[in-house]
Amino acid sequence: MNEQTAPYDALTLRSTGRGLLVQLHVIHALILRETRTRFGESHLGYLWALIEPLLWIATVAATYVLTGSTGKPGMTMVGFVGTGIITYELFRNCQSRVMVAVSSNMPLLFYPQVQPLDMMISRVLLEYATWFSVFVIILGGDALVRGELRVDDPLLVILGLLLAGALGGSFGAALCSLTVYSNSVDKVANALLRPMMFMSGTFFALEDMPPQLADYLVFNPMLHVVELVRDGWFPTYTSTRVNAWYPSIWIGGFTILALTLERVVRPKLQVT
């Protein structure tokens, strides 16, 4: 008996290390593949990632002009809407892309080392890369035009963006397993999440909301995330009612749920 235990332990340790290496190869290959298919169908390709937030910024700019509003002191309109929209888009795209990560990559389950979790992780990583770049281009461009750039707390901005992707990714991962049971999950999720954009502080600052309304709005973890990014970006803006713990707890909950569901659903996935 003893003879067998020792080599077995050595084997599991070594195979854990090798397993990690295999997973890195898989995630790397998946990311490269996803970059080809993410915007692959369209001629403008990755420009779409820039166009969408720019359109929102233009729309809000138009309303500002029409209503004669000057925006919030110390914040440019591009900065205010940009920090909101890009952070939200990161959340939303992680959620929607991860939700269909398995169903749109089904043939790849034919390779034993490719697991559903790898598909989800690689999609989140690609969204991070995409929206971090968009953030730098649009808000950096805004600073360049104004001729000044003073970021209040860069680490807080990065923390906020990381939370946005993690919240979307973990929520999407939980939904991803549910889509195996019913293919209307994604339609329902998309319909329910549509109003989220307007409740997450993308177009308003929490401090401008009436207190009674704000009491309800703070239940939304994405509002915390957007406010954190703005707090970190603008020297003149400090958000008092939000923190990083609240969205983190949601992320933890979604992650536990998603990993549990993945275990349940994995044997049900059929590759043919």
Binding site: R36, N105, P107, L108, F110, Y111, V114, V271, T272
Partner: protein, 214 residues
Amino acid sequence: MIDVDEVTKVYATNKGPHVVLDHVNLRIPAGTSMGILGVNGAGKSTLLRIMSGVEMPDAGQVRRQGRISWPIGFSGGFNGSLSGEENCRFVARIYDEDVDRVVGFTHEFSELGDYFYMPIKTYSSGMKGRLAFGLSMAVDFDAYLVDEVTAVGDASFQKKCREAFAERRGRSSVIMVSHQPSTIRSYCDRAAVLKQGRLTVYDSVADAEKAYHA
């Protein structure tokens, strides 16, 4: 080495559970080849998928040593909107192989010509099979799990497939499932028969053939 130990798989059907594999045992030492005969729907492909690790058994376990291929067949494994070349790149990366070598080898072996650079969805099933087979030959596996795919292509392509395996004989195992004894005969020196969920291993292909037709 692949060791299939008491593997059972049950699929839910409209008429209740259907036992596809019933306590199947099979041991394939490194470097040996094995054919598995069974009629359509006998569970051959299921067994192959479980051996590869793509599907999990409901009971029992599979122990593997060395690099085992994915179940090589006509379908699956390819993204239709990407070209043959791009799919090869992906597979080379997940097996940590030299991407250019794998792409070059597969292009030549599959004889797809310019279609190699076209989306897979424009391929016929024969072309897909040729791509899948060429790609699997480009990666150095210790065991190849082959699902009927060698029946693909014309006589000269089939000859090429046999030669590719002959070259690897002794170094790699071939586990091949088919409903045609003639296919098994030209690749394997031993065979098993899968009937009603039970697997019986025979010492020669001829014995297996007799039991298969019985």
